[in-house]
Amino acid sequence: MNLHEYQAKELMRRHGVPVPAGEPATSVEEAKAAIEKLFGEGHQRVVVKSQIHAGGRGKGTFKDGFQGGVHLADSVEDATAKAEAMFGNVLVTKQTGEEGKQVNRLLITSCQEIKSEFYCAVLLDRALGKPIIMASSEGGMDIEEVAEATPEKIIKETVDPDLGLQAYQGRKIAIALGLRGKLIGQCGRLLQGLYATWAGCDASMVEVNPLALIENEDGTEAVVALDAKMSIDSNAMFRHADITEMRDLTEEDPLEVEAGKFDLNYIKLDGNIACLVNGAGLAMSTMDAIKHYGGDPANFLDVGGGATQEQVKAAFEIILSDPSVKAILINIFGGIMNCNTIAEGVVAAAKETDLKLPLVVRLEGNNVEAGRQTLAKSGLALITASSLAEAAQKSVEAAK
């Protein structure tokens, strides 16, 4: 589950990571109140930031031509006008695709003088089976590009998951980032807080880009998290009621949300051949086979190992509500699952939804003969196939 910047910053703040003062807003009125509060506290400048689940906001463009999803403002009037221009407007960034994302929330924060920018993230190193802190002096940049072009600028520190990030490790990273004096200890504590956020929230990833060395209005220096990106391990939501409440369904594909209600794993793609498969690996392979024979899959859909007739019907309705679908491919390997149960589910769903699209079915495994008979006797215009390769070829033909 992905979080908004303001939510990630709130969780980081709770774990001792310094973040700029600020508040989220879901309306122009709330934004104005937050802006007035910051100026009232003596801040000379604020930042108005679009909150969407996509990167590249600063360099994005709104659909009405308004440039930039992040703006600085030096007065209440200016900041409020910018907030007004952003609310409800659709922001297109390099990560949103052409359709963009509607901005329904803003984060209003104070703005300080930035002296230098760093990158920092906490994530799982799968090869080690341990969490690592990844940092770089090249802040504000695309970290993948940095890792590609100048791998020596990437600092990595492995963490013992039962001990957490130790103070000396935090200092080690701070020194490697080029910090000196009191800033070494302060940045080290910030990094320990960042690791505590990762561990305490069951995060999959915590990323701060940029982590910034700022000069406060009183002339003192400090390292703070200027931006924040965070995703949570969906498997751990059962122990985080507070984070569960942070889920923003408007940021997710409505069909994917609907599929989730039926315990179906569905991911919408851009093609026109819908797939219904049991098992994640087989579902991915089915998409691959469609592509291999020159077609384009419309979705990933894993109905799981023990799909019921209700789930098959729900799966049908979900894939049919995608208007670009021109053909459907059902690929089931019934191991424990009875092929006839699936066949009956398919026939019922096809009849109930008055299916007009070509339907290619490949069944194999447990009780497959009965399943094939059920399909043959159904009166539906089905195209059958005996292997996945054949099914993929036939579905590509049918979608033309």
């Binding site: 561990a199 969906s234 994640a280 691959d288 424990i336 390769a389």
Partner: protein
Amino acid sequence: MSILVTPETKFLVQGITGGFGGRHAQLSLDYGSQLVAGVTPGKGGQTFADTVPIYDSVTEAVAKTGATASAIFVPPPFAADAILEGIDAGLELVVAITEGIPVRDMLSVKKVLDASDTKLIGPNCPGIVTPGEGDQSHGGCRIGIAPGYIHKKGNIGVVSRSGTLTYEAVWQLTSAGVGQSTCVGIGGDPVPGMTHLDVLKMFNDDPETEGIIMIGEIGGTAEEEAAAWAKDNCSKPIAGFIAGATAPPGRRMGHAGAIVSGGKGTAEAKKAAFRKAGIGVAETPSEMADTLLKMM
């Protein structure tokens, strides 16, 4: 021989009184496997299917029955604890079927696991099958949720991150009249117990295994590591398949571990690593068995 388990291996089921665990415990009994005990804390003294005694703890079950392996069907919030209990009881093999264990829990499990003599298969896996000599491989050792009847006793080892793709490979082999030594589903999670490499090494050392099918998917670099080792060390032919070439980056494809992130873990990189190591690459899953058989 076979690897990890033989038809004589005695095992227990943790979570035998749950619906899912009970159903698959029964299927293992039907297959003729040596399921000797169940464990559900608080239900000690009861029996499963009128024959299998249930104990309150793994240690007690091991002491009373001599079980050396376990299958875990415990719900995700309690599954890491169940694995640790199995390790503590000194089991040789723990097979964690449970899907949805938090990564943070598995990080702690992994530390304990690495310091122990126990081997872990999974989590989020179909388990392990060593086929038996009977009709439709009856009498083999089936720990987990794989369909037993599709197997056939023979000389091909199968290792895979995906359940249904394992069944596809096994079914293709069996349909071609070719049997399997052992089939291991290592699971689709980002922090697994045994890896492709661990299983590959065991197949290489197993005199009964003559060829290997290795099935991987996007995410992580475990397939690349296995391939790099195999290049210079594996004396047996290997055919490979990788799922997820068309998966969009940054999205989890069903399995928690099936994700391309930061440009890492792509199907392309894994297939390239396979080719470099002399592993035969099946372009579609329909060709997994054929690809191997052509190499033998």
